[in-house]
């Protein structure tokens, strides 16, 4: 079953004299449980593609289907609600709420979903334990290392029980140890809970551990390969 389907997806910036294709005719199918890396050089359209899939940006043409929902037909407010319930986001610079603790940051999404408190508490504890931060629950982002912050971001992304997680360069600001640690967690979640991950990266350490690698160049898919990872 496809979690994400894009058909002839394009994004054109035509403010200048020559139109620039950030994404150019991308057809893509991502199934449940995949661990996919979108790779390519800077400016190849990775982030734009992720933004369009995540409903953060509008495509100039073509369509995106999440499950059975064609997201281009949703209004702005419906799209926000759709993202809340279906898509988890992990950003390059973590983007945690600075005044909330790790626990509160993770809980925040569930609060927006009106999840009852007892359920929130239970899930937050289990998620933070899964990302290895059960002892840092009451620390604010400034009291956590970059790797720890990114793990909180993963827990937050998972909190809403999304259909998939979109991660834009999740390891770009991390050192080797934190990168390895984060990848271990993501792969474990992928293996054990069948969580679908789609991330953009140009980090070879990440590419080496991805099961599917989609390479973009000038907004076009130039290769789509599967690899076996231990």
């Amino acid at each position: 079953m496809n979690v994400i389907t894009t058909s002839n997806l394009s994004k054109v910036y035509d403010e200048g004299p020559v139109p620039v294709y950030a994404v150019n005719g991308v057809d893509l199918e991502i199934k449940k449980g995949e661990f996919t890396a979108i790779v390519g050089p800077s400016g190849s359209g990775k982030t734009t593609l992720l933004n369009i899939i995540g409903g953060l940006d509008k495509a100039s043409s073509g369509g995106v289907k999440i499950g059975s929902t064609e997201i281009e037909n949703l209004s702005a407010n419906e799209l926000i609600d759709f993202r809340l319930r279906n898509i988890g986001f992990v950003f390059q610079s973590y983007n945690l709420i600075p005044v909330l603790t790790a626990k509160e940051n993770t809980e925040f999404i569930m609060l927006l979903q009106n999840t009852p408190k007892a359920e929130r508490d239970k899930r937050v504890e289990s998620l933070l334990a899964e990302v290895g931060l059960e002892d840092r629950m009451n620390n604010r982002p400034t009291e956590l290392s970059g790797g720890q912050q990114q793990r909180v971001a993963v827990a937050r992304a998972l909190a809403s029980k999304p259909q998939f997680i979109l991660a834009d360069e999740p390891t770009a600001n991390l050192d080797s140890k934190s990168t390895a640690n984060l990848l271990d967690i993501m792969l474990k979640l992928n293996k054990e809970e069948d969580t679908t991950f789609v991330f953009s990266t140009h980090d070879q350490r990440v590419i080496d551990r991805a099961r599917r690698i989609i390479t973009l160049e000038d907004g076009k898919i130039i290769s789509d390969e599967k690899q076996h990872v231990q």
Binding site: V99, F108, L112, S160
Partner: protein
Amino acid sequence: MFLKLAWRNIWRNKRRTAITLGSIFFAVILSTLMSSIKEGVYVNMIKNSAGDFYGYAQIQLKGYNEEKTLDYSFEFTDEVKNAVGSESAIEESLPRLESFALASHKTVSKGALVVGVNPEKEKLGTQLHNRVVEGEYLTQNDNEVLIGDGLAEYMNVTVGDTIVLLGQGYHGVSAAGKYRIKGIVKFGSPEISKQVVFLPLKTAQTLYGAENLITNLVLQVNSANAGIKVAKKLKTQLPENLVAYDWQELNPGLVKMIETDRTEGYVFMFILYLVISFGIFGTILMMLAERKHEFGVLVAIGMKRFQLAVLVWLEVISISVLGAIVGVIGALPVCFYLYFSPIKLGDELKQMTEEYGLEAVLQPSVAPEIFINQGIIVFCLAATIAIYPLIKLLSIDAIKQMRS
């Protein structure tokens, strides 16, 4: 969580918050003190003029209030007594016969307000006996007078001297009498002290040929507001030829003066609050600019725009209300200190205020509504100003904000 988040967000930039709070704090202190002192002056004016002399309510014969002549006198009948007696808010009813006369001593003459009073009832009601600063208080059958200290000074008379009162009595009869000054009285309102002469009611009735008649029945109640309520109620219960007035109807000049002064105060306060508004607005603009990226992320992860708007609205309201509360708390001790130790104005200012008929004392009012109103005004201001970010955030574009 939203409240918690809003509260913590306020303290993210402590210096900015402190500056905003400081501006609200000083403006609120200033406006609270100003309101408190102004209202205190009004309360004193009303008390000195209406409460201590004219009463907060009166019963008169129809027409007397417009044309103050003895021809509009009436008898204090049982019917009137019953109507007054049925009103529990009335602590005491004080019959008076008031008219004007020319008061003379040796070569000095001055127009005086002659008031025939029941000395015993005034003792219980207006506590006139406590206003005697020299000499003695009146008794029922005295053929002597009490004179205001301002009038005594003008006429250069003192206790034991004699004054002559000359005027027109009931239905045009000539009224003339010679009276020994038994005591000198002092009122908070210099205007009253400069013109008043008190006689026992019977003596006044004899002077004016108005046996058993009174011109007004002063109703002693415990506050200005009670006077308004009592007068309103009595209007429907009194015999047709009589009418009850509250202190506002009896002192339209005073009411007008207070209203005019209040309006001037509002202009000053408007300017103060305009300054606060710009302070709050500046904070909002800075905060919106600083947190663009964060707002974008929040919308991206699924926070509805209206929830974000409410969050920021709460932040603006919290900081403003906090500033107002701190300001009011700061103003409270000053107001209470001045309430218990009023400022007595120096000679020059004293002379100036007395020329306006005011007591030369600044005693602020500590009525709760003065302080509550400041909080309400700041809240309304903040709520209004916070509409700006509300509108901005309701149309926020996540991706644009995240790129900023």
